[in-house]
Symmetry: C2
Subunit: 139 residues, 2 copies
């Protein structure tokens, strides 16, 4: 049975159920950032997905990238580069990070994972970010 690892719940909020994955907003105001969690019980690596589901995951990653770009536009910080990461060294449940980057962000040009401290969104920006992402993911 599929269940989202509770480790994701503290750092992200649900956005939308896509055909393969649960899309969540990483609640870190430093970067527009989504995670995709395929609803595949026990999956930890992309090799644990069928070829068809791997293709779906890539399609959903492109969609998540558009959502991340929309968040950046809405908050006045357009995304300059997308970063994808599938690590799972700490939380094994298969998940793909889709992160919008800018040359003036606090981790540039390094990766975002494990860098510095999360900054929480204020209430207004969180609502704007959610609305921008949902307009792409679940129009």
């Amino acid at each position: 049975m599929f269940r989202i690892d509770p480790a994701f719940e503290g750092a992200s909020e649900p956005l939308a159920s896509l055909p393969l994955s649960e899309a969540r907003l990483q609640t870190d105001a430093r970067f527009p950032w989504l995670i995709l969690i395929p609803r595949t019980p026990g999956a930890a690596e992309i090799e644990d997905l069928s070829a068809a589901d791997r293709a779906r995951l890539m399609d959903e990653a492109v969609l998540a990238g558009l959502a991340v770009r929309a968040i950046g536009e809405t908050l006045g910080r357009p995304v300059e580069k997308l970063n994808l990461g599938q690590l799972g060294n700490v939380t094994r449940q298969l998940h793909l990070h889709v992160v919008g980057r800018r040359a003036d962000d606090p981790a540039w040009p390094g990766p975002v994972w494990g860098q510095g401290e999360r900054i929480l969104y204020d209430v207004k920006d969180l609502a704007l970010a959610r609305a921008a992402a949902l307009a792409v993911l679940a129009p």
Copy 2:
């Protein structure tokens, strides 16, 4: 016209031409590590690939993961987790990292990108790593 960015040449060596991508061995003895560079002129993001090519890239990432596992086995350090990354913040040409991780590697549990200093393979281990990867990629 497709041409590999010269930035890749100092840090990696060619292994095999897969249907979509050039597979290269990252010459860093700290981690068994391949990069896949799709032969798609001008691509910088996965959205620059067709859906069919994105699916191919995932299939090649699974194959590269098997090659990375084979390198780890050959060198007596079996891979415990695969990490995928598509960043391109420094070198824009689209490329996907496939890295074998262990809980005792020098960057665990953080990402490998931008961490510490590369360690060159000695001649024997480089030959073993190449042979192990090629047995998977171009049997």
